[in-house]
Subunit: 317 residues, 2 copies
């Protein structure tokens, strides 16, 4: 089985690659592409490419040898897509469409395509919980670009050009690494930094509720979406992934149970009206009945999410 | 006030032009564009253009003198978009995006844009009635292209590039003229042909329920969307228009009341499984609360729809 991963150098791309190599899928060849070259696997035959999917001819080159499964995780993030209108539409929409068109150009080819979408396709106000049939109401260009790509994937799938699944990922927590400028960054930072003995800032009230999945869950979503029987999915190819609905207070309570009050004491509440305003437009709770019925499963407690982070990602001291 | 109408030679484009010239909007100049030249108005200063919005440079040319209101009705219909993949995406998506980008290229310009969308952005299964927050589930490429354009219009409006409204039109009935090959054509045909003393064929059971608006209502929707205060619309710029939910039996009963049993006797039931299958995926009943609250109003009986057709459109004998 030949597997192509677009966005393979990113955090989720690397974890997905590792999970596949660990036996998550029966890969005989991997093609790993990103704007910077992803690490080359040691044992499984792999092609590693530093390319921009938005450049002319790249999509056609990537699918020319007809990979069986394509994971499309390549994107620029929400903040950058909002700040740079043209770059957002070029990378998040035009490059995705180029990929779909490159697949269409190959007669008889119908790969499984798993697209990393996002709960950013939704914007407030929301019902609680948000049902699977809630309408698309993005409040960012990023969310708009994800929603449009979902619609294209459903139409191309309906026509038999490809066999697509768009998985709407919750906010990934705990993101490993260093703090970034994403408005959602603090959800990971208030756990990750104290676990490393470092101070962290909380910009929103601890009553703020959000929808989370661990990197482990996200990786499981991708693997499951790659192999499930799409006859059970029908024409609506975008699925709200299951997640854990939790408040910041729930996160902090879990941190206290796993790492003690001394970790919690490293968090300082410093209200930021800008971030609070953005976060207020985000979804806090879903009823992801379709995905659950299709066998997708999520984390059940923030204690588990923190322990998984300590096992998988925390810098070893 | 300078008004640009794209798709001005079509049935709704011509009716909208007449309504504006009759005082529906205070037009000082009209630009009427379509793939074939629309009729030139007699009195109001007007520019008439035969152009393809999908051709390079056309969108920029059309908005260069900054019309205050743009009505975008240019599209190829559902059946053709399904039969010709490339033409559908080129005309219904790429040309629409070219229009939005041409507006974006003009600094300080922020026109009202009224886009003719369609209930084809929805596909079965449905709740009854369909609420305003029901998700986008197109089952045709046409519906996909309309849904994508709606999402772009909301994002461009949110960013202040334009001030858009997408109105999701019900099936227009009674369409004047001759029968066409649209799967929905019979909804008009079973009234229009008997009213002219001609036979008509009904391909679906008379229990089939659908969502209708007269050409008069559709014209009113466009005029109202052109002038309403979008501060009351918010970021969700696509609106389900009000309509009349009616079964084929309701249509036929109205025909009997207006034109007698002799007209009804001209209808022959000839089941067509293909058409019945397509129609089964269409919406039959909405609860268009947002549009109603914003002041959009619809027809209240099929008797009125038939009488309006006889006044406005029926061939005079």
């Amino acid at each position: 089985m030949h597997i192509l991963i677009l966005g393979a150098a990113g955090m989720l791309g690397r974890k997905l690659t590792h999970a596949i190599l660990a036996g998550g899928l029966p890969a005989t060849h991997l093609t790993l592409a990103d704007i910077v070259a992803p690490p080359k696997p040691a044992r499984t035959p792999a092609t590693v490419l530093a390319v921009n999917l938005a450049d002319p001819g790249i999509a056609a080159r990537l699918v020319a040898d007809r990979p069986d499964i394509i994971f499309h995780l390549a994107a620029i993030v929400s903040g950058e897509a909002e700040a740079d209108f043209d770059k957002g539409y070029t990378v998040n929409l035009d490059a995705s469409r180029a990929l779909l068109e490159a697949i269409r150009a190959l007669p008889g080819y119908c790969p499984r395509l798993v697209f990393a979408s996002s709960i950013a396709v939704f914007g407030a106000p929301f019902p609680d919980p948000i049902p699977d049939d809630f309408h698309l109401t993005p409040l960012t260009s990023y969310g708009t670009q994800k929603a449009i790509t979902e619609l294209l994937i459903s139409d191309f799938s309906r026509r038999g050009i490809l066999d697509g699944i768009a998985i709407r990922l919750p906010t990934i927590c705990i993101r490993p690494g260093t703090p970034n400028r994403a408005a959602s960054g603090f959800f990971s930072g208030i756990l990750r930094e104290p676990l490393a003995g470092l101070p962290a800032t909380l910009p929103v009230p601890d009553t703020t509720r959000h929808w989370f999945a661990s990197p482990r869950s996200a990786t499981r979503f991708f693997l499951h979406a790659a192999t499930l029987d799409t006859a059970h999915v029908g024409p609506r190819r975008a699925l709200n992934m299951p997640g854990l609905s939790a408040t910041v207070a729930d996160q902090i309570d879990a941190l206290r149970r796993v790492a003690g009050q001394k970790a919690v004491d490293l968090i300082t509440y410093a209200p930021d009206p800008t971030i609070a305003g953005i976060v207020k437009g985000w979804a806090g709770n879903f009823a992801p009945d379709r995905a659950t019925a299709l066998g997708f499963t999520a984390d059940t407690s923030f204690d588990d999410i923190i322990r998984a982070y300590l096992q998988d990602d925390a810098p070893k001291t």
